[in-house]
Every structure is written in C-alpha cells, then in structure tokens.
C-alpha cells in the first residue's frame, strides 16, 4: 500500500511538469497551429538565466521571476522574429524552423554556459512527508506540493483568462478563425505574439520546476519535452485542461511502470499509451475538433 501511494504521488508530481510543458504546447497550437519543437529548449535556456541570477544574488525567487519574465519575452520575440515570417507558408516550413530554433538554442546554451551538468536549487525541501511511520515519498514533499500548486495555479489563471476576459476571447477567436477575428477588429498579430509569450512563460515555469530533478545541461529538457508533447496529444492538442489530465495520466502511468515493472520501461509505456490514444481517440481525450492534420 505504501508503495502504491508513493508511486501515485510521485506520478502526480512528475505529471504536473509534463502537463506544464503540454500546456505551453497547447497554447501555441491553439493560437497558430504550430507545434513548437523548441519549447523544451527555450525552457532550458530560461532555466540557465535563472541559475545565473540565483548564483549571482543568492535569491531563488528573484531567479524564478526573472526566468518567467525571460520566457515571456523570448516567447514573444520568437514569434515575431522566427515564426511570423514562416506564417502562411507550407506547414513543413514552420516545423523545420522550430527544429532549427531548438538546435540554435541548445548550441547557444552550450557555447555560453558549457555542457557540464549543473545542479539546480529547489525553493523547498524534497524530503517526502510522513504520516506516522507511513512514508508518502518525494511525491508529497514540500517541493512536489509547490510544483503541483504552481502548475495548477498557472492552468487555472489561463482558464480564467481564456474564459472570462476580452483578451481571452480575442485569443480564442484568433485561434479558431483569424479571419473572423480580424473582421471584428482584433489585432490577430498582437494576439498571436501574446499567445507565444504566455507559452514561453509556462515553458519557463516548467523548466524551473523540473530542472532540480534532472540537472541542467543544454539537452536537459529534450526527454521532458517528448513527455510533455505526449501529455498534450493524449489530452488533445486543443485542450488546456486535456494537457493537464494527459500529463497526470502519463506521470502516474510512468511511475507505476517504473515501480512495479522496471525502471527501463517507462518511455516504452509512454509511447504505448500515445499509440493507444492515437488509435482509439486520434483527436485526444478532450479535443474540440474531430480531425487533425498530421
């Protein structure tokens, strides 16, 4: 029983991180129908920026805020400088552009910061909580709880933004029909930039939350990106809520597989889950559209 609780809580803790990456991918997909392969790389880069600030000031929270701000700015700049020129051209162009951006960002990080693994601080303890002699594991540590709260709060704020504010309505209208949005006076270009900026912020948040577990190096977010992408596809690339649920399902599943079957199998299990979802629910579990261009 203790193992089950430990694996479940650990899965939830990992899952919210996959969810955060998935959420950032969903934000961009909804706004521009682009899958940003560089999302993980950008999160890695903002984590480096945070680490520099933390090392220089000794203040974790200053680094945290700077990372989120950097994610916001970098996301917006990437849209304006890299993505917009490829808009309206064949879909493959954008795919290649984002892959090229990933290579560029990882290369830059290697040049600027070197390729060695760097440890990354956590704001709270990673020691798991106990109820009497019942050990809940690292999934119930203060750090894990902070991770879950941070991601769920971000998702909640985004949900409120989308559902209840004029900006959110502009973003949704631009995503579903840029032409109609323009007819209603919406500056679709600005809204698209905002979508990428917010995605950059969420990606930076994911980077800050996951990096303490993985060390920081130029490729440190690659595998996390794949799992975040899987979470987004499971939930349906159109659905922010779906990305959260997809991330949680994936996190818990991978922890069960690691704990009960073998530590070398979780990636395989993740891919198996992805294939199953694509076979039986190709639009994902929560997608609003029935078809997707592959």
């Amino acid at each position: 029983m203790q193992e089950f609780v430990e694996f479940t809580l650990g899965g939830v803790s990992d899952g919210v991180i996959y969810a955060a990456i998935g959420l950032s991918l969903v934000l961009i997909w909804r706004a521009t129908r682009v899958l940003n392969y560089a999302q993980g790389g950008l999160a890695m880069f903002t984590s480096y920026i945070a680490l520099m600030v933390i090392n220089a000031t000794g203040n974790y929270w200053l680094g945290f805020v700077v990372a989120l701000a950097a994610g916001l700015v970098i996301g917006g700049v990437v849209e304006r400088v890299v993505i917009r020129p490829a808009a309206g051209k064949p879909h493959l162009n954008t795919v290649i552009v984002t892959i090229g951006l990933l290579i560029l960002v990882e290369g830059l990080a290697g040049i600027i910061y070197g390729s060695k693994n760097r440890s990354f601080p956590t704001p709270y303890s990673i020691v798991g909580a106990k109820i009497g002699s019942f050990d809940l594991g690292e999934g119930a540590s203060p750090s894990a709880i902070f991770t879950a709260v941070a991601v769920l709060a971000a998702a909640g704020l985004l949900a409120v933004l989308f559902r209840y504010t004029p900006v959110g309505l502009r973003m949704r209208a631009s995503a579903f029909s840029g032409t109609v949005a323009q007819l209603m006076g919406v500056r679709v270009g600005r809204i698209t930039t905002l979508g990428w900026a917010l995605a950059g912020l969420i990606g930076a948040l994911a980077g800050m939350l996951v990096t303490p577990q993985t060390f920081l190096y130029p490729n440190s977010m690659d595998s996390i990106f794949v799992l975040g992408f899987t979470a987004a596809v499971i939930g349906g690339l159109d659905s922010p809520g779906g990305a959260i649920v997809g991330g949680l399902i994936l996190g818990v599943l991978l922890n069960y597989v690691t704990g009960y079957v073998g530590s070398n199998l979780p990636e395989l299990a993740g891919l198996a889950l992805l294939i199953l979802v694509l076979m039986f629910r190709p639009s994902g579990l929560f997608a609003s559209t029935a078809t997707r261009q592959v």
Binding site: T179, V180, Q182, L183, M184, G185, V186
Partner: protein
Amino acid sequence: MPASSLAVTDVVAGYNSTPVLNGVSITARPATITAVLGANGAGKTTLLRTISGFVRTRGGQVRLDDVSLTRLAPDHIARAGVAHVPEGQGVITELTVEENLKLGLLLRRRADRAAALEDAYRKFSILADRRRRHAATLSGGERQMLVIARALLSAPRVLLLDEPSLGLAPKVVAQVMDLVRQLRDESGLTVLLVEQNARSALSIADQGVVLNLGKVVATAAAGELAADVALRRHYLGF
C-alpha cells in the same frame, strides 16, 4: 451616429497577378441599400474583400466618408466602422452564441457593452434563447442572424453583406431581407449587399450595381434595374 457613405473609386484588385476587379466604382449613399449583383466570377465577393482589406488594392481608392480605407489592414478597417459579414456566414462554431456576440462588442466602450448585448437579445430573441449553446448547434438561418447581430454589435457605419441568403430556405431568406431593410430604415445603416438572388436583393435595395468580369456594367435605381428585361436576362438570370 450619422449615416455614412462608402465610395469605391476606380479600384483594381485581385489575387496574385490576376486582377479580378478592373476599375470598379461604386458609391453607397448614406442610409441606403446598394445591391451588388452579377454572375459567379463577376467579382462581387472580391469587391467586399477589397473594401474590408483582405484583398489589396493595386489602384483606386476606398473611402468611408472622408477617411481613406485604401490599403489599411482588415482590423483597422473594422475599427473604422466597416462590418463585413462574409459569405458562408463566419460563425465561430467552437464558441457559444454569446461569445460570438461578445466578439462584436470588443469594438465598443466597456461601459456600453452590457446594454448593447441586451439590446441585441431583444432584437434577436432566438439568439437570447440559445445564448449558452455552441454556435455549431444553430440552424443556417439562426447562424445568419447571429453573424448579422454580431456585426451590428460593433456599431458599424457601413455593413457589407456577402450572400446572406446562401443555403437558406426561401422563408428564412425573406426574414433576412426584412431584417436588412429594417437596419436601413430604423438604424440608418448604409448597406452594401452582395447577392446571387437578384430578385430578393432588388426588392429591398435603393440602388443596384451589376458587375460582369470585374467591371461595372450597370448602375441604376433598384426599380429601374428590375424593370430592365434585357439586362435582367443577360446578367441577372431572371
């Protein structure tokens, strides 16, 4: 708001290197309905898309009263007071009826939005009953009402309507035409109405313009066009 006039003067526009409009001139006078008629491929839809900025002009001018709209972006033109209801309706099916309507309100002052929305629900009671539903669940006629209501919520000075009767049952077409007539008579709106159904359009219009292969071949009072048997048979098919 005083009624506005829309003047299209010697406009040349098209897609890629192919001009679709070749020196088109049309003036929609304040608080009137101008029907733009012609066969498929005449350039009617391109004309509206050019006015609303989706097709770039290569020559000529588009003016709303004293303001030039030529080469402005579509969102600028919308903010200047031109509401375009595109062919195929332009409902965002993923949003609810109310969310679609709220898009129209984005151009209004925040303080006016709630009252304007309630006013729209009074005028379009069918939409009030369906406000929480997704727009995808609406019938063709209801969708047409929705896009017209949404356009009106932006408080436009000129309304561009592209084939509002497309795919609708005759009874619903009559309702839509009645609505357009009311907009002119009660709200003083200037309407540019593109229609394949020339008979319906001329029945409510003040003036008609006939396009053929991107050129204006006739401009006259709607009654005169309807009475011109040769022109009707040659260009309008009735």
